[in-house]
């Protein structure tokens, strides 16, 4: 139940470099009206980031090579269909997790 001094420094330093990029845009936007092209550019950020966060899991990077994460790619397809059909966040997440658990169960057994 202790906190070591070097660990505390790491936690505080990491907290600072995480919170600053989160807050700065909120402070800047209050004082400057963003020009139209920037606003348009920002409107494309959600689909770009969300695609990146999904595709990031298709590959596994190790120290010296890149591998395809087949279980993720296999389960993403039915999960996408369920998301398109239900348009529900909770149903998609729960069925996705269930399908991944099943796949792992059959792969491991």
């Amino acid at each position: 139940m202790s906190i070591h001094y070097p660990t505390l420094i790491i936690i505080l330093g990491c907290a600072l470099v995480t919170v600053v990029p989160r807050i700065v845009p909120f402070l800047v936007v209050r004082n400057i009206a963003l020009p139209e092209p920037i606003l348009k550019w920002l409107s494309y950020i959600p689909i770009c980031i969300l695609t990146a966060l999904v595709v990031e899991n298709f590959i596994i990077q190790t120290n010296d090579n890149v591998k395809v994460n087949w279980p993720v790619i296999i389960v993403v397809i039915p999960t996408l269909l369920i998301a398109l059909k239900t348009k529900s966040l909770s149903i998609t997440v729960i069925s996705g997790v269930g399908m991944m658990a099943l796949l792992r169960f059959f792969l491991l057994s």
Binding site: L50, T51, V97
Partner: protein
Amino acid sequence: MIAEKAVQQREKMDLTFRQGAKDCIPTLLGYISIGLAAGIVGVSSHLSVMEVALLSALVYAGAAQFIICALMVANSSISAIILTTFIVNLRHFLLSATVAPKFTKYSLLKNVGIGALLTDESFGVSSSKIAKGEPINDRWMNGLNVTAYVSWIIACTVGAIFGHLLSNPEAFGFDFALTAMFLALLVLQIESVLPSKLNHYLRLILYMAILMIVLSFLVPSHVAVLISTIIVATIGVVTDK
């Protein structure tokens, strides 16, 4: 006039702190499963339960927490750990810049509070609400953010406490919760796009996927996320008619 009033009334009711908390619920499975895993990884990286709790409360970023633990185990220097965390979390700058224009009318303190607790997930939920043309306000956003934040700290701490009991959370497929959630958020985002713009957006998604995979061979994935997002959003503006 009466209809207009009814709409305003409904919007007010929909935008409470409580509704924000409710809209957070579908994302909680992601926070809780990854939080538990982050807690387990924390104690197995020789952090104390207190240190794990402090890390989750102050840094509050899943991917970064895993990387911090891995680097500490590898005995990396403090400056290297902090620099890596900065790069891993730099995407939040883009997320904040996207959401921030909706909150300019609120106080400085409220803006700092909303920004400090913005995550990939709360960004996803709020930006899909924005994309649908629905209004958002400070109370709703705080409900969403605070619910996620509290769940995350509890999940990480519980994971740290019971770390030794659950040695392999991956076997249950929980690690897929985040991927499934981002996929669903992407579908919701696309659904709200005008039909005439659909092809444009689908093409951008394809470019993103290709660029992410190509860049993964060259740079760490968190750098790939940043570079490909900046490039493809620019392509989006340039090719927009």
